[in-house]
């Protein structure tokens, strides 16, 4: 009787483990790529919008300059914000585009 009870517990534990193991990869497969893709899509959207804003705002006066390191771009965009009276939102999107 005791052996049967132990066997039943072991069987239950084994089934639970198999069930969890079977369920967990499916969870990973269904959520992770979606999260990654949505982040990538968001970044790509921001980059495209940033490029559009860059061409519209910066192109008013000069041709597209090369991309500088992020810390230099942060200074240059602050300077241009003052000089060219660029809007707050345009500053953020252009900075994102120029530092990607």
């Amino acid at each position: 009787m005791k052996n049967k009870l132990l066997s039943a517990i072991w069987l239950l534990a084994l089934m639970s483990t198999i069930g969890m193991a079977a369920a967990s990869p499916r969870t990973d497969a269904s959520t992770e790529p979606v999260v990654r893709n949505s982040a990538e899509v968001e970044a790509e959207t921001m980059r495209l919008e940033g490029e559009k804003r860059f061409r519209a705002n910066c192109g008013r006066c000069h041709a597209a300059p090369q991309k500088f390191p992020p810390r230099m771009m942060a200074t240059i965009i602050r300077h241009m914000r003052v000089r060219a009276t660029i809007t707050d939102e345009d500053v953020r999107l252009v900075l994102f585009y120029m530092t990607q």
């Binding site: 006066c61 300059p65 230099m72 200074t75 240059i76 003052v82 009276t85 660029i86 707050d88």
Partner: protein
């Protein structure tokens, strides 16, 4: 009480964290902290030394002038809202004397601006110090030699002050998804103490509307002199960059008691030409038409201000070749027509823009 809690929270002998796990945890914590610090560090703006350098030959009515100049700009960001910025101008202009001999001339030094900017909100930036006068668009935005498509100054540029010493409020914000509004309003004090810091007692401003869709900007400027004859100046500006063409158009009109006039400037990049594309995409054609009408001041006074002494028309066109980003060869030809005499204007030279971080720029 506190001792007891410390004792109860102390790990029991049987559940002590192994050394390797402790090390891993410590490494993970340090790495996370380091990465976090790196992200913050990478976003922090770094001071920059930038500016332009150029060498030009200006041939005006057969008289050759060698012009070498360097215009350093220092940008010093402080915190999240402050920027200290300054631009100086060192220009050597050398000519042969009328009776022949060696080239001679002077090196002029000028402080264009030295200002402190405080970004108070998304709508307002407060500027204090010596700043470029926001009258029209050329003086503030198109003046640097690496930006301007033709190296000769427009005839109407001296109609407004180039720099003022005082305080300014400025900013830009979206009115809706299709319209951005920008403005600048300033007051300046009289300054005569030093030749490099001269300023008039002025009040003025500029407002503009920018349509990001069709890339059109237009606006108006006004300036009132609060000394001497207390005269008014006003102007209009227009800029257009068509989305389908690599073309850039700018234009200004200005009027004051010293005179009035306009200029229209266009620059077309041959990037859409399929013939010799490797060369053509670096090539730009630029042209300008302008006119100046005398004001209420005598000709000698106008010439002292840098304005023509008589009614003048001028046409100019040229080619710019971009060797690489920020480095271009320039060449242009123009002709000026006026009652004082007609003459040719030739320009050839090279313009360079540099930018150096004054600190660690990369991660």
């Amino acid at each position: 009480m506190s001792c007891r809690r410390q004792n109860s929270e102390r790990p029991r002998a049987g559940t002590q964290i192994p050394y390797s796990a402790k090390t891993s945890f410590l490494l993970f914590f340090l790495l996370a902290t380091h990465l976090l610090a790196q992200t913050t560090e990478s976003d922090r703006p770094v001071p920059i030394l930038t500016g332009t350098a150029g060498y030009f030959n200006f041939v005006t009515a057969g008289q050759n002038q060698l012009d070498a100049q360097i215009n350093p700009v220092v940008l010093l960001p402080l915190g999240d809202h402050w920027l200290v910025e300054s631009r100086a101008e060192f220009e050597g202009a050398f000519q042969r004397p009328p009776d022949g001999g060696a080239y001679g001339g002077m090196v002029s030094k000028n402080l264009d601006y030295a200002q402190v900017d405080y970004i108070a909100s998304p709508f307002v930036t407060v500027t204090v110090g010596r700043f470029l006068t926001p009258f029209g668009i050329f003086n503030e935005r198109l003046y640097p030699i690496w930006i301007r498509s033709l190296q000769q100054d427009p005839l109407i540029l001296p109609l407004s002050a180039e720099s003022n010493d005082g305080m300014m409020l400025r900013g830009g914000f979206p009115v809706n998804a299709r319209v951005n509004f920008n403005y600048a309003a300033y007051v300046s004090a009289i300054s005569t103490g030093h030749s490099n810091l001269q300023s008039n007692r002025d009040v003025g401003g500029r407002m503009g509307v920018f349509l990001p869709g069709p890339r059109i900007e237009f606006g108006a400027s006004w300036q009132k002199l609060l000394q001497d004859q207390r005269t008014n100046s006003f102007g209009f500006h227009f800029a257009w960059q068509p989305t389908r063409l690599p073309l850039s158009l700018h234009s200004e009109y200005a009027r004051s008691n010293q005179g009035s006039g306009y200029w229209v400037d266009g620059a077309y990049r041959f990037s859409q030409v399929f013939l010799w594309q490797k060369v053509m995409r670096h090539l730009e054609f630029a042209a300008r038409a302008e006119q100046f009408f005398n004001g209420q001041i005598p000709p000698d006074e106008a010439e002292a201000l840098g304005l023509p002494g008589a009614n003048t028309r001028e046409g100019e066109f040229g080619l710019n070749y971009y060797l690489r980003d920020g480095l271009k060869l320039v060449g242009s030809y123009g002709r000026q027509f006026s009652f004082a005499g007609n003459f040719n204007l030739w320009t050839a030279g090279i313009a360079y823009r540099f930018a150096v971080p004054l600190g660690r720029a990369a991660q």
